[in-house]
């Protein structure tokens, strides 16, 4: 039984080694790389396809509609139909556009999005490149997305796309800071910059509950901060200003059509998956099972289940919230997220130095909750936001 579970867990690793065993030694490094990369290149676009259906169906249900249900069983062939549609659509390049950059932008975006997957542990022993500074690599490569977005907005030579690109760059750069600072706590706790190391640091169970970082005050705060920042990084609602369709129509990719548009779409979702996967790695124990008696389920299954849960959360939020305004978005990043992320680092440090669990829980929670309440109240009061009462004339 245990053996079967282990085999199931390691089946992809074993399969790769089995193939490598039959190949000539000279080709092995190359083949090993290909065998690691290709499944990722297949799995995540596939997940993208599934997500688009799930998102549209989920939003539909939130809005009391069916969502797509005509293409194939329960509408699950919808992405295929969409794919065929985007492939066969005319690829329009504005005559005043910078053709080379216009063409390159979606490619850069997708390549950058894929590169981030190199360091994400998808399962036990399943990581393309186990870099010892993997988290750094992740954030560094993630920044490339901004370049691609700006290339798209600039090269399109359209006012709306330029506005969108400006918004996107400002937003992504601003939110990079809370994003990185929020992940620092996990790095501090694990003492490692390697995603694999961070997952390993969260292994083990007390009773049936796992030792995930999210179950500590600083971890929880870090997780929330990371999620908010990641939402902004991946331009998801309510931070979808760069593409706010009611304001600047589609933002930086307004001048893209056909397959290039699909690439943008893909790149955006890949970015969201990568951010979610990083959040899972940093705070949700990576591929480890949530309860000790569930460890027999293969690790990659847990990883993808957690990923799907995160995606569901993103969809839920998208279905509920209106979008923020640019200055409010910036205000949130600089006035709230940044101080909270810094405080969170302090809290994580304090946690390390106080041995007694009840005391450190109380101290850390106090460090975080009190400023959070004060800060949000203060910001709210400064803007005079309130639920108003109204007068009536007879």
């Amino acid at each position: 039984m245990i053996d079967a579970a282990q085999t199931a867990d390691q089946i992809f690793v074993l399969a790769k080694q089995w193939v490598l065993g039959y190949s000539p030694a000279a080709l092995r490094p190359l083949l090993s790389a290909v065998l690691s990369v290709v499944p990722v290149l297949i799995a995540f676009p596939l997940l993208f396809a599934i997500t688009t259906v799930l998102e549209r169906k989920g939003l539909g249900r939130i809005q009391n509609r069916y969502g797509p249900n005509r293409a194939g069983p329960f509408g699950f062939f919808q992405p295929i139909a969409d794919g065929i549609k985007s492939l066969t659509k005319e690829d329009i390049i504005p005559s005043s556009a910078d053709h080379a950059v216009h063409l390159l932008a979606p490619v850069v975006l997708v390549v950058a999005a894929f590169l981030t997957y190199a360091v994400l542990p998808i399962g036990r022993g399943m990581v393309i490149a186990n870099l010892n500074a993997g988290v750094l690599f992740f954030f560094a490569v993630g920044t490339l997305v901004e370049l691609a977005v700006f290339m798209a907005g600039w090269s399109s030579h359209s006012k709306y796309s330029l506005l969108g690109a400006m918004r996107a760059v400002a937003q992504m750069i601003s939110y990079e800071i809370p994003l990185v600072l929020a992940s620092v706590v996990a790095i501090m706790a694990a003492g490692s910059l390697s995603p694999v190391g961070i997952v390993a640091a969260q292994a083990g169970y007390s009773g049936i509950l796992p030792h995930w970082f999210v179950f500590t005050p600083w971890g929880f705060a870090g997780f929330i901060l990371f999620l908010v920042a990641a939402t902004a990084e991946s331009n998801r609602s309510p931070f979808d200003l760069p593409e706010g369709e009611s304001e600047i129509i589609a933002g930086y990719y307004i001048e893209y059509s056909g397959f290039k548009f699909a690439l943008f779409f893909l790149g955006e979702y890949l970015g969201m998956f990568a951010s979610s996967a990083m959040a899972i790695t940093l705070f949700l124990g990576g591929w480890s099972a949530p309860l000790s008696f569930l460890t027999w389920v293969p690790s990659y299954v847990w990883f993808f289940l957690k990923l799907l849960a995160m995606i569901a959360g993103f969809i839920w939020i998208r279905g509920t919230l209106p979008r923020l305004r640019m200055d409010q978005l910036m205000g949130l990043a600089w006035k709230f997220m940044l101080p909270m992320a810094l405080l969170n680092i302090v809290a994580a440090a304090v946690w390390k130095f106080i041995p007694s669990p009840p005391v450190r829980w109380a101290v850390c929670a106090a460090i975080l909750i009190f400023p959070c309440v004060v800060l949000s109240r203060g910001l709210r009061r400064a803007k005079k936001l309130q639920v108003r009462s109204y007068q009536f004339a007879e």
């Binding site: 939003l59 939130i62 809005q63 009391n64 509609r65 006012k159 709306y160 506005l163 400006m166 918004r167 760059v169 400002a170 601003s174 609602s237 309510p238 979808d240 200003l241 706010g244 369709e245 009611s246 304001e247 600047i248 129509i249 998208r318 279905g319 509920t320 919230l321 209106p322 979008r323 923020l324 305004r325 640019m326 200055d327 409010q328 910036m330 205000g331 600089w334 006035k335 709210r380 803007k383 005079k384 936001l385 309130q386 639920v387 108003r388 109204y390 007068q391 009536f392 004339a393 007879e394």
Partner: protein
């Protein structure tokens, strides 16, 4: 994007204090928002001059849907214009019919039987309910809420449209009123169905409130945005919920007491700030008042004829003269000004479109705000281009 928005509001205020706004006139980015912009509510266009994302100038451009409705009406019989009025504000065809019928009744001195007045109030208030519900949905859509509030609004609207179809035969182009009454009487079971819909409406409003009212993002986006002062609102003849959000106590149902509105107990909500949030909330509160009116009207509706028997469908020729009739349409004061020369066609037929006149102050509300604000300010004005351009 100017540096100002990157560093947030504090910097923005500093900025405005240090640099005069017209300092960089040459660097303004001119953007044509519309006529195919997704949130201009039709083929409306604004020529916007932007400094970064801040609006320095905004000029509305109309006429993309202009079909010279008034000229067409001069070539039609009086009755022949009735179906055309449906197409003005195509969300509220019944109130359009009502305003036109009221003007013609004033012109020709026709009285309306009791039951017809009740029918007008019931259908008119149902129209108001669905218009306001959808407007709020559109407003939130403009704010980027992925259509969820809009879909909830449409879900409720569907029930009201079903009622309209059962009564008038059409969901949107009702063509329901006639001079001196209404076209058809209630079919069997209609009132019960309508009572059910009206009784269920507050539940929908509660849901809406739960979803949005205390939502921080909504408050942040709307409070203090697009402020319209009371003085300007009156001077620019801004009417309807938009004027009342600025604190102008001017509801024609109370002022003119046209029809039988003096028989119903209802209140007029008034805003104190005149911003987008007030305009949103006034509409929510007005829906609650409309529900009250509907409940009373459906309880009291008497029997009797539905149309003045003296009026004839064909060969209607009012005596020479003129009349201005106006009602409180969901979007504001909808007036019809008719001049008769004694023939079967009106000599002059003028629509006072609330949507167009409420747009007079659009630039005043938008100056100095962001593009994102322009979109929701426009959304909160509640325009339908069929009426703006006529």
């Amino acid at each position: 994007m100017s540096a100002a928005s990157v560093a947030g509001e504090v910097m923005e205020e500093l900025d405005a204090a240090v640099r005069p706004a017209d300092d960089f006139g040459e660097q303004l980015l001119e953007v044509s928002m519309g006529p195919q912009h997704p949130s201009t509510h039709g083929v409306f266009r604004m020529n916007v001059a932007l400094d970064g994302e801040r609006v320095m100038k905004l000029k509305p451009v109309f006429g993309y849907l202009h079909r010279n409705h008034e000229k067409i009406a001069e070539q039609e019989t009086y009755l022949g214009s009735m179906p055309y009025t449906d197409r003005l504000d195509y969300f509220c065809s019944i109130t359009n019919n009502w305003a036109y019928a009221l003007a013609v009744e004033k012109l020709a001195g026709i009285t309306v039987p009791e039951r017809a007045e009740y029918l007008r109030v019931i259908t008119g208030e149902l129209t108001r309910l669905q218009n306001h519900a959808c407007l709020i949905g559109f407003l939130l859509q403009d704010m980027g809420a992925s259509g969820t509030p809009l879909m909830y609004a449409f879900r409720e609207r569907e029930k009201i449209l079903d009622l309209f179809e059962a009564l008038t035969g059409a969901r949107m182009m009702c063509n329901y009123m006639r001079f001196g009454g209404c076209r058809v009487d209630l079919p069997a079971g209609w009132l019960e169905q309508a009572r059910g819909v009206v009784a269920g409406f507050p539940k929908f409003l509660d849901e809406f409130e739960q979803l949005l009212q205390s939502n921080e993002i909504l408050m942040e986006r709307t409070q203090g945005v697009g402020v319209l002062s009371k003085e300007l609102a009156i001077n620019a003849a801004v009417s309807g919920p938009m004027a009342r959000a600025s604190g102008v106590n001017y509801d024609l149902r109370k002022v003119d007491r046209y029809g039988i509105y003096d028989r119903f107990a209802f209140r007029v909500p008034l805003g104190a700030h005149g911003d987008v949030y007030d305009r949103y909330m006034i509409r929510v509160l007005e829906m609650r008042e409309s529900v009250k009116i509907l409940e009373q009207a459906m309880k009291e509706i008497p029997g009797g004829p539905i149309v003045d028997p003296k009026t004839k469908i064909r060969g209607f020729r009012p005596k020479p003269g003129e009349a201005y009739g106006r009602i409180e349409a969901p979007k504001g004061e909808l007036g019809f000004y008719l001049v008769s020369d004694g023939s079967a066609n009106p000599y002059r037929y003028r629509v006072r479109p609330p949507s167009l006149i409420n747009l007079t102050v659009l630039e005043d509300m938008c100056l100095g705000r962001n593009v994102a604000d322009v979109v929701i300010i426009l959304g909160s004005v509640d325009i339908v281009l069929g009426e703006v351009d006529r």
